[in-house]
């Protein structure tokens, strides 16, 4: 076995040093009655070439966006990843290292985290950032848990237009902690219904809003934060599933949000059938000590030179055990690195231009659809995704696939009242001619 360096001679020598007769002797502390008789019920090992072949076959049984134009977003947006990102992720100094518990030999990882924190805090207009969370959905749940420690209210208020999976994970997380989840409806423009919010806000510790929301509609965060309430304002948390929109919109911080969470997978990671993605959390400074997960901070070494360490660790499970701010240990370190490299490559100009292309493509697609009689579902402004009304939306994707198109996301599964709702996304990878093709097919179906 090529990953196991011990030769027969090595085994003999080591057994000699240990004073054991056989390898079996080393397992004598395991009672015989629980030992497995016979081999594990899985096949024998394969040679590298055979494994590769199997995976090539698996890969061939999937259809991917690089072969078929893809109009699916719904929380996973298809962006091009520059080759330089994977070149850095493939450096084993990064991917075969552990969580940076020994900072003197992990300054590479730590400095990258510090850079990530700086860029994410900057993009979201917040003061501080953590080093990553699992994904956007669990980051949303962590935001709710955090708010429940900071405020007295036991109610978690969430916009119904927030990503359905984010809401689902949130419910799983808070289920047994004496917290109630209540949803705020959306209006005909697809945005949060502000008067419904004002009514529901009493007793809430947090209000979670998608930006853009699941329908691709851009929320007016400032208007939400300015709603006059009779009670203490809940923490306003903005959840971003498409972080590229941050380059096009006023950041949540200056708009009055206290907390920003979401998924930064759009920054340098593949859609990857749903994972690994990149949960993040940025916040106003006052909330810093209740944040979940790892945080990197600047310090100096014994010679006074700048260096970085994991800090504020008394929040964490290995110190505080059941009183920790979260149970998270391993996070999404390498995904964080991908985002850091990606953002460094794109830069402020590149990311802005990319956002403009996404916006322009989506607006072109929207216009082409409207010209073919396919109407938008909501009136609010959109970034690179929007909902339209398509009759028989459940069956549309099968029809499109026959014509070589991966279609959008039917909304009725998550919003039974939006029976004909159909979510479409366009990114920089969407070609004009494919927009035209889709518009004419859907126009025929509409």
């Amino acid at each position: 076995m090529h990953y196991l360096p011990a030769s027969g001679e090595d085994v003999k020598n080591m057994l000699g040093a240990v004073g054991a007769k056989s390898v079996d002797d080393l397992f004598s502390s395991i009672p015989e009655e629980v030992k497995l008789r016979g081999p594990l019920p899985i096949p024998s090992g394969l040679a590298e070439a055979e494994v590769k072949e199997r995976f090539a076959l698996r890969a061939a049984r999937n259809t991917v966006a690089s072969c078929f134009p893809c109009f699916l977003g719904a929380g996973a947006y298809d962006h091009y990843v520059p080759a330089a990102v994977d070149a850095i992720l493939s450096r084993s100094e990064f991917y075969t290292s552990y969580t940076p518990y020994q900072p003197e030999m992990a300054q590479g990882t730590l400095q990258a985290i510090f850079e990530f924190q700086t860029m994410m805090a900057g993009l979201t207009g917040m003061d501080v950032s953590n080093a990553s969370l699992y994904d956007g959905a669990s980051a949303t749940a962590e935001a709710a848990l955090m708010a429940s420690r900071l405020r007295k209210g036991r109610k978690i208020l969430v916009a119904r237009s927030l990503h359905p999976s984010y809401r689902a994970v949130l419910r799983t997380y808070v289920k047994h902690l004496g917290l109630a989840v209540e949803e705020v409806p959306f209006g005909s423009d697809g945005r949060v219904d502000l008067s419904a919010y004002a009514k529901a806000a009493e007793g809430a510790c947090i209000f979670l809003v998608g930006q853009p929301n699941f329908f691709g509609v851009v929320e007016d965060v400032k208007a939400i934060s300015s709603v006059a309430l009779n009670s203490e304002k809940p923490i306003l948390a903005v959840a971003v599933a498409e972080t590229l929109a941050l380059a096009a919109l006023e950041p949540p911080g200056p708009q009055g949000a206290d907390l920003c969470v979401g998924d930064a997978r759009s920054f340098g990671l593949p859609v990857g059938f749903g994972g690994p993605y990149l949960g993040f959390m940025t916040a106003k400074k006052e909330l810093m000590r209740q944040m979940p997960g790892r945080i990197c901070g600047e310090t100096v070494d014994a010679d006074g030179r700048r260096g970085f360490v994991l800090t504020l660790t008394t929040r964490e499970q290995h110190i505080r055990r059941e009183k920790a701010t979260s149970n998270i240990c391993s996070n999404e370190g390498l995904c964080m690195l991908a985002a850091t490299v990606y953002l460094a490559l794109m830069g402020r100009k590149g990311l802005s231009e990319l956002a403009r292309q996404n916006l322009s493509k989506a607006h072109y697609l929207k216009g082409a659809l409207e010209a073919n009689g396919v109407k938008p579902l909501f009136g609010g402004p959109v970034f690179n995704e929007f909902a339209v009304s398509v009759k028989g939306s459940a069956k549309v994707n099968g029809k499109l696939f026959k014509k070589g198109i991966i279609g959008g996301y039917p909304l009725f599964k998550d919003y039974p009242k939006l029976k004909n709702g159909y979510l479409l996304c366009a990114t920089e990878r969407t070609a004009k001619e494919d927009c035209d093709k889709l518009a004419s097919i859907l126009g025929g179906a509409a």
Binding site: L40, E104, Q111, G272
Partner: protein, 484 residues
């Protein structure tokens, strides 16, 4: 790891006018942010991002990479972390466009390869753990613990009483009590017996209908197999409790013994430990949860099922605890783990566990007499030493930092909490004997230095990119982002 170029921060390298990526020409009319969003449009470019060329960026991160230690450089003996070699074939196959490029919401008919991969991994993990069903959704070990405790809670609730307490031994990882807490349970720590195992009589006396479950790491963090595991399961089951196994240390057991055969009800498996997927400097991991049939109805949605050669997601699970991740789990990590299992096969996995245990026992034999054992029980995959007998006020931390000068990553230190100044060593099966011998020599030298030139040890490291970093100052005055 010796002295090298001082690498500035990205923001200090900022060079207006440079760019590091190219975009295709936009083939549709341009829409401005202001036109689309009015007052909600961003008014200035995101100044937090630098302007750099691809060359600048590649050099920056390549230089940073040189400040890291890694498994590909040498022994990484972190106890309970299982820093084994990360096979290169795993990295190759997970990058196939046909896997990395699949959108999670595509029609199932267009993602049969991805679904078959997940199904094959579910089946393999059930076979290895002796369990009946499996979810691949949890993103890491602690996420798996949380999911497992939710299953237990849902099971008790379905029987009419969620119960209140989860028992956790004092040798457990910090994630165990935190995970149980977030599932809504009160955590009760209980003392390990004199042999490092559960005190069966004390457990019997403590067990009642208020106890929902026990969470056990087997082998535990002392590297000791829970010899009374069958009795523990029986005691819990007799009063309706459940047994959760933390699979962080499964690397000691593959093909030798299976939690499902002990009577355990549910466990998580760290693919980034036992199944060779890389740690990535702190993730992404994957923490699938395997369970017995009676907990299966509660597993998160969706589960991959196979019907007549077709694979699909099963969402029709009315008793499910819900979702714990946005989609289906860290798929590209799952792909790596399956590549490993298919490469190793039944015999290879068993050899891996056998050699992991042999390596740990070899290091134990070689280091005993140089360091004081923290606990004198039979060692499986890891061994714990303590700070007893360290001369001249040299601490475990000093010892660890001095190892850096000898070119090794230190072991896990000050854990488990029940051993004073713990030094917890897990070499894994992928370490060659010579590398371990080199480590033993380094320890020997440091022990001599502690006696003769203690200051050399206390001020270590001397040869790393940075000398000892001031963690207290970092926490006292947190600077978490760069400011101009």
């Amino acid at each position: 790891m010796s002295r090298q170029i001082e690498e500035k921060l990205l923001f200090e390298l900022d060079h207006p006018g440079r760019n590091g990526a190219s975009l295709p020409k936009c083939d549709v009319p341009e829409v401005s942010f202001a036109d689309a969003f009015g007052p909600l449009a961003r008014k200035e470019e995101p100044v937090a991002l630098p302007e750099l060329s691809e060359v600048d960026v590649i050099r920056h991160f390549t230089r940073l990479s040189a400040c890291n230690y890694s498994v590909d450089l040498g022994l990484y003996p972190l106890g309970s972390c299982t820093m084994k070699y990360n096979p290169k074939i795993n990295e190759a196959v997970c990058r196939y466009e046909g896997l990395s490029g699949v959108h999670p919401l595509q029609d199932e008919a267009t993602a049969q390869g991805a679904l078959e991969l997940m199904h094959a991994l579910q089946e393999s993990l059930c076979a290895i753990s002796g369990m009946d069903a499996c979810t691949l959704q949890p993103a890491a070990g602690a996420h798996g613990e949380f999911t497992g405790m939710q299953l237990i809670r849902a099971y008790h609730e379905a029987k009419g009483n969620p119960r209140k307490i989860v028992l956790i031994p004092d040798s457990a990882h910090g994630t165990n009590p935190a995970s149980a807490h977030f599932a809504g349970y009160a955590v009760e720590e209980f003392k390990s017996g004199a042999d490092g195992c559960v005190d069966v009589e004390a457990l019997k006396a403590r067990m009642n209908e208020e106890v929902a479950a026990i969470m056990l790491t087997v082998p535990n963090t002392l590297g000791i197999f829970e010899k009374n595991i069958k009795a523990v399961c029986e005691i819990l089951h007799a009063k309706g409790g459940q047994v959760y196994i933390d699979g962080a240390n499964l690397n000691a057991l593959m093909g030798v013994t299976r939690p499902g055969d002990w009577g355990a009800d549910v466990m998580h498996i760290n693919l980034h430990k036992t199944f060779s997927t890389p740690h990535g400097g702190g993730g992404p991991g994957a923490g699938p949860v395997a369970c017995k049939a009676h907990l299966e109805p509660f597993l998160p949605v969706p589960i991959v099922v196979k019907k007549e050669e077709r694979y699909s997601f099963d969402y029709e699970r009315p008793m499910s605890i819900g979702k714990v991740q946005g989609f289906y789990g860290n798929f590209l990590v799952l792909a790596r783990a399956l590549a490993y299992i298919e490469t190793m096969g039944a015999e290879g996995l068993k050899s891996a566990s056998e050699l992991a245990v042999l390596n740990a026992n070899y290091l134990r034999a070689k280091l005993t007499g140089k360091l004081e054992l923290g606990f004198d029980g039979p060692t499986l995959h890891e061994v714990v030493f303590c700070d007893k007998g360290m001369p001249n006020g040299v601490t475990t931390m000093d010892f660890a930092k001095r190892l850096i000068d000898y070119g090794f990553h230190p072991p896990t230190v000050y854990f488990p909490l029940i051993v004073h100044g713990a030094i917890m060593i897990e070499p894994t099966e992928t370490e060659p004997k010579e590398e371990m011998d080199r480590f033993v020599e380094a320890v020997e030298k440091i022990v001599a230095e502690a006696r003769e030139t203690p200051d050399l040890v206390k001020k270590a490291p001397h040869e790393a990119y940075r000398k000892r970093l001031d963690e207290v100052a970092a926490a006292r005055n947190p600077r978490l982002v760069w400011k101009r």
